[in-house]
Symmetry: D2
Subunit: 381 residues, 4 copies
Amino acid sequence: MKVAILGQGYVGSIFSIGLERIKNGEIEPYGVPLSNELPIKIEDIEIVASYDVDKSKIGKTVYEVCKRYYDKVPESLKDIVVEKGIHLRSLRNLPIEAEGLEDNLSLSEAVDKLIESWKEKGVEVIVNVCTTESFVPFNDKEELIKAIEEDKKERVTATQVYAYAACKYAKEVGGAAFINAIPTLIANDKAFVELAKESNLVIFGDDGATGATPLTADVITHLCQRNRHIKYIVQFNIGGNTDFLALTDEERNKSKEYTKSSIVKDILGYEPPHYIKPTGYLEPIGDRKFISMDIEYISFNGAIDELIINGRINDSPALAGLLVDLVRLGKMAIERKEFGTVYEVNAFYMKNPGPIEKKNIPRIIAYEKLRMWAGLKPRWL
Amino acid sequence: MKVAILGQGYVGSIFSIGLERIKNGEIEPYGVPLSNELPIKIEDIEIVASYDVDKSKIGKTVYEVCKRYYDKVPESLKDIVVEKGIHLRSLRNLPIEAEGLEDNLSLSEAVDKLIESWKEKGVEVIVNVCTTESFVPFNDKEELIKAIEEDKKERVTATQVYAYAACKYAKEVGGAAFINAIPTLIANDKAFVELAKESNLVIFGDDGATGATPLTADVITHLCQRNRHIKYIVQFNIGGNTDFLALTDEERNKSKEYTKSSIVKDILGYEPPHYIKPTGYLEPIGDRKFISMDIEYISFNGAIDELIINGRINDSPALAGLLVDLVRLGKMAIERKEFGTVYEVNAFYMKNPGPIEKKNIPRIIAYEKLRMWAGLKPRWL
Amino acid sequence: MKVAILGQGYVGSIFSIGLERIKNGEIEPYGVPLSNELPIKIEDIEIVASYDVDKSKIGKTVYEVCKRYYDKVPESLKDIVVEKGIHLRSLRNLPIEAEGLEDNLSLSEAVDKLIESWKEKGVEVIVNVCTTESFVPFNDKEELIKAIEEDKKERVTATQVYAYAACKYAKEVGGAAFINAIPTLIANDKAFVELAKESNLVIFGDDGATGATPLTADVITHLCQRNRHIKYIVQFNIGGNTDFLALTDEERNKSKEYTKSSIVKDILGYEPPHYIKPTGYLEPIGDRKFISMDIEYISFNGAIDELIINGRINDSPALAGLLVDLVRLGKMAIERKEFGTVYEVNAFYMKNPGPIEKKNIPRIIAYEKLRMWAGLKPRWL
Amino acid sequence: MKVAILGQGYVGSIFSIGLERIKNGEIEPYGVPLSNELPIKIEDIEIVASYDVDKSKIGKTVYEVCKRYYDKVPESLKDIVVEKGIHLRSLRNLPIEAEGLEDNLSLSEAVDKLIESWKEKGVEVIVNVCTTESFVPFNDKEELIKAIEEDKKERVTATQVYAYAACKYAKEVGGAAFINAIPTLIANDKAFVELAKESNLVIFGDDGATGATPLTADVITHLCQRNRHIKYIVQFNIGGNTDFLALTDEERNKSKEYTKSSIVKDILGYEPPHYIKPTGYLEPIGDRKFISMDIEYISFNGAIDELIINGRINDSPALAGLLVDLVRLGKMAIERKEFGTVYEVNAFYMKNPGPIEKKNIPRIIAYEKLRMWAGLKPRWL
C-alpha cells in the first residue's frame, strides 16, 4: 500500500525512519498499537511521496531531511524526493523560509497539480502531519467548494486544501484515505465529511491522540469509576520541537476554540475546574517533552487525595507509531467502502474524534471497540 | 440489611463513620463506586455488630473507638458495642495488647459463639477488615474442617476461622455473605470456595483493590494498548497506619507468597522487571500514604519515555468506600443465590480477585462487566 | 513596635492572624526564620493600622476581613478598622469594586492624609502587601517628586505613592521603615533609595522571596558547586489566590520587565535556557499553590541527570512568616540609622534584593550574612 | 601525580574513562566541582595501577574492563593491567567469582605485596572504590595492628587491609593519600586516623557524597533557615548497579549501624521522623538510579506544605567526578603535610565526613570552607 506524507517534519521523518527500520528487522514495532495483528502487515506499507513548504527541504531526498532529526536513517529513504506542497501561511511566524504551490497557482490549479502527482505515484493513503494552523472550519460543503473555486486564499488553510484535494482525488481514482493528525477540524467538519462520503474518501481525524491527554483520560476514568470527585486538574506541558514553537503563536492557539466539548467533561459527565494547555517552548527539551499533572479529588468520607504525574514523552514517535496503524486501517476502510469518517478508529487514535456529534470515551474501552471494528478479538472484554 | 464488622480498626471505623454521615445527608457518597445506582440504597445499610481483639476496644462503643481515628463521629454509633473476636496471633509483634475468644475456648466453641452472636443480631453480611496476617492457604476442604475440629490453633488464622464460621452460619440461616478485604486467601482458596457453595455463603475477595495497584493496572493497560514496551516498573509506598506497621513484620509479608500471578503479567501478557511492594512505615504520614512510581518504556522507533507518578492517598477511606458497595452486592448475590464467589464483583474491587483460576483484567473493563452483573447499563460500552 | 499594613488581603490577613496566635501562645513561630533570636520579640509587634481599597473591606474590622480567609481569627483583631488607602488602578481588571483616597483628593492631599493617620497611630513600620501592579520605575528622584506634586495619577502606582508618603512621614517623625513585599521596584529604584536616605526611611525590598524561586536558587547552587552543567530549567506554578488571578493580566506581568538580571544567572555565572514564570490561575487550588520544576544537567563523563521537583506550598503564610522578621529588622535598622536600603536583609528575604546594583547570592549564604548583620552568631560558618 | 584504583568496577571505570576523555579534550570537566581552579591540573592525573578481585577482570587491561560499562573508551587505558587485590568476602553473595591475594598469603604478606606493587609504580594517591562491605570498626590502633599481624581474616575487611597497607606504604615512602569513597569507616575510625598521622598518610572519607543525600541536606537547610518545621522525610532510591545489588544483602546493610548521628539531625538540630535508605535493586534501571523524596513541613500559622522530589541520577559519574578533585586535594594535603584526615575536604565530599567527632554541615557552606582550605577565593561569602 502506497502512502504520501504531507509535512516532512519531525513526525513525518520519525514515521519514515521507524517504518523502514521495522521493515529491515532492526527494531521491534513498539509504539504501534496493533503491530502484527492486522491483515495488512507493516511490511506492506510503502512511502511513495512527500510534500513540504520549507524551502530548505523541497528537492532534497527524504533521507537527507530525516538526517536532521535522527542519526540512523535507512538508505531506502534516498529514493523519495520532497516536493513542494501547499503553504497558505502555515509556517507564518516561524523561523523558516517557506514557499507553496499556491504562490504561482490558483488554489484549483494547485489542487490539480497535487492530484496529478498522487496519481502518478499511485498514492492510496495521505497522511497529514503539517504544523498546527490557525483555521476556521466550514461546516457547509458549498461554502468550502466556493472558497476553493473562487481562490479565497485567506479563507483556507493548507490542511483544508489538502483534504479537499484528497476528496477530488478519491472520486477520480475510486477510493483513498486522508489521515488528519493535526488539530484543524476535518473529520469534525461536516463540510469535509459530507464531501468525503460522496467522493469515496475515508477521513480519520482529528489531532492524533498522543502525550498527556489520553493518559489523563484514562486516569480520570479510573477516578470516575470509583466515584471519586475531582476537585481540579492541572496539566502542564513544555517541549522544544516545532510544534511547541508554533503554539507560542497566539493565532494558532485560537484553533483550540473550535474543538468540541472537553475530553474531561465527556468522560466524567461533569466539568471539574481544569487548566490543561501547552504551556511553553524551550528549545533544549527537544522532542522529549516534559509533562506535569496535578489532580486533587475527594474520596470516601470527604478525604482529599492527590495525584501528581510527571513524564518525559517523546512527542513525535508517539504520533508516528499511531500512523503505522492508521494508514493500514485507512486502506481497510477503503476496501470496506466505509467512506466519510469512522468513529471506531477515531475514538482510539484521535484527541478530537470525528464526527463532530460523537463524544470522547475512555481509551481503554475505545481500544476494544477498535479491535472489534478491525476484525480482531477484543483483548479483555 | 444488617452488617457485622470484623476488626474495628481504621478501615472499619471510617466505614462506620462515612456510612452514617452519608445516611445523615452530611456528605456526598464520593468514593462509593456505584453510589446511588444499586437497587439496595446506602440508607438501607445498618451496622449491627463489631468484633475486635484489642483489649482497649472490647466493650467500648463503636462511637468511642471511632473517636480515635476521626473527629466528627455520628451519635448513632453509640448503640453498637465492640465484642471480643478471634485473635490467633493476628496482632502479634504489634504494640497492642490483645485477647481472643480462643484464649478460653476451643476453635469450635469460638465459632459457635460467633454464630450465636450473629444470629441474635440478624447479621446478613460480614465484613472482614482485620490486620494483615501471616497465613498458609488450605486448598483442601477436608483439611480445613479437620484443623478447626481438632483445634489446631497454630494452623489457622483469625480470618480463616471467621470465614469458616461464616460458612457454618450461612448454612444454618440459609444465606449470608463474607467480604474478605485483606490479603489472606479466602476467595482464592478452593477449600473456602467449595465449602461456601455448599453452605449458601457468598464470598467476595481477596484484598480490597485500593491505592497504587489498581492505578498501576490502568496505567500499564494504557501503555499496553499502545504497544509500548515496559522496561521496568517501580512502585514504592509508605504509610503510617497499623497496616503499614504490620507489614514491617517479615512473617506477614510472606503472606504475599501465596498471591497468584502478578497483576502486571496478567494484563501485559509478559512480566516486565518490577519492584512493587509496601516499602516502609513512618508514623507521622498517618493514613494518607505516599506512593511513588517510576515506569520506563520503549515507544516507536526505540524512543525511551518515562512516567513518574506520585500520590498522597488516604488508605482507609479508599477501602471503606468500596465496602459500601460490597455489602450491598453481597446481599444481591445472596438473593440471586450465587453462592461460592463472584468473579465479576471481585475483578473490580479486589487486588487478588477469586476464584484462583481467574486472572486480573484492566479495571476499566472490569467496571463495565461489574455494572452488567449488577443489572446496570454499562457506562461506555 | 507599631505596624501598619497596606493591603488587607490574604497575606496581610494571615500575617495578622498568625502573629496574634503566636502572641497568644497558640502556635509555634514556624515559618519565621529568626523566630526567638532577635532582640525585639514577636510579642512586641503590634498591628495598629490597616489600609485597603476594596469597598467591601473599608470600614470593617481586621477581624471581619480575616474571617474571609481563615476560621480561627483571634478576637484581638476586632480593634483595628480597615481605612481607605490609595487605589490608582491597582485592582483594575480584578472582580473587586474599589475606591481610593485619590478619587476625591490630589496625590499630595492623599499623601498628607496617610501621614496624618500614621502619626495619629504612632506607626513605626509600614508593610506593603498590595496586589501586584503594572508600573514604571522612576530612577530619578526629581521626576518622582514632580509626578506626585503635579498630580500625575497615570504615572504612579499605589505602591509608589505609599513609599513616597513613607519617606515624607519618616522625615517628619525622625525615622520609619517601609517593607515592600511586592514586585514594584522600590528598593531597586534609585529615586526611592535616595529619597529614603535623605528622609530617615529604611526600605526593605523588593518582592518577598517565597515559593519556588528561593528553592530553585538553592537547588541550582547545589548543582553549581558540583560543576554540573544545567541544560535547562523549567518552573511552572499555578494557584488560586488573588495574586495568581492578578498575574493573568498581561499588563501586570509586564512589571517583570523591570526586574534585574535573573537569579539563575546571578548564581550560576551563566544563563541556562529556562522557562520560569507564574503559569496560571485555577480557583480551587486556593492559596496552596502547585509548583513543578524540571532540571536536566550534565554530570561527569557527559552523563545526563534529571531532577523533577513538585510542591504544594501555602503562598500567603510563606510571605507572612517573613514579614514577622522584616518588621523587627526594620525597627532595628531605624535604631541603627541605616537609612536607604539594607542589602544584607534584602538578600535573604527578597526575590529582587535592592539596591539595584547588587546581585542575588545563594540563600544559604545570605542567611549567614543576615545573621551577622542582625548581631547573631552564624549557624554553620 | 600517580593514582592507584582499588576496585575496577563501575565507579573506577567511569573515573578512568572520564579522566582520559577530559585530558584528550573530548569533554568538559562537568561534575568535577573544582574543575580548572586547583593548582594541580586534571591533565596532571595519571592512573598507574588498578586492583580487583573479580576473576574475570584480573589480568585484563583497564581498557577491556571499561568496555563492559561504556562504549567510548580511550585507547590510553590499554596500558594498565588489573592486578589481584584483597578480597576477604567483599563480593560474597554477589554473582561474581572472586579471588584475593589473601587466598594464598597471610594478611601481612598480602600487605607487603601491595606495597611492593605501589612502590614499583610510584603511586601517590590510592582511591578505594570497592563494593560496600559488612564491617566492624576498630577505634583502637593496637587492636587493628594485632588483627593484621595475627592474620585474623574474619575480623578485617578488604578496605581495612587496604587502608592499613596505605599507612605502612606512606611511612616507607614519606607520604601518600588514601581516598575512601565507600561506607566502611576509615576517616571516622580513630585507629586509622591515629595510625595515618604517625605514618604520613592523608585519609579522606568516608562514603562519597553523591546522589540524594547531599541534595536532601541542602533542601532541609533551606527549610531550616526559614524555620519551617519538618514533619517527616521520606527518601527512596533504587538502582541496577552492583552497589544496589550489594545492599540487598542484610549483612552489608548493617554497615550503616556504624555511621554517626544522622546528617538530618546534624543540620536541623532536631531529628524529624524519617525513612531514608537504599530501597531496592532492579537491574534494568542500571546506573541511573531513581530517587523519590517526600517532605512535609509546617509553615507560618500552622500551614502544611509538601515537597516531592524525584530524580534520575547517574550514580557512578557523580562519584567519579568527585574523585577527580579528591586525588588532587590528596596530593595537596601530602605536600602540606596535613596527615591524618582533613575535615574541610571531607565535609563537602563525604556523606560521613571524618573525623568521627565532627558533624555534617550544609554542603553549600562546606563548599566555601573547602575553597578556602584549597587556597581559592570563596564564591559568595
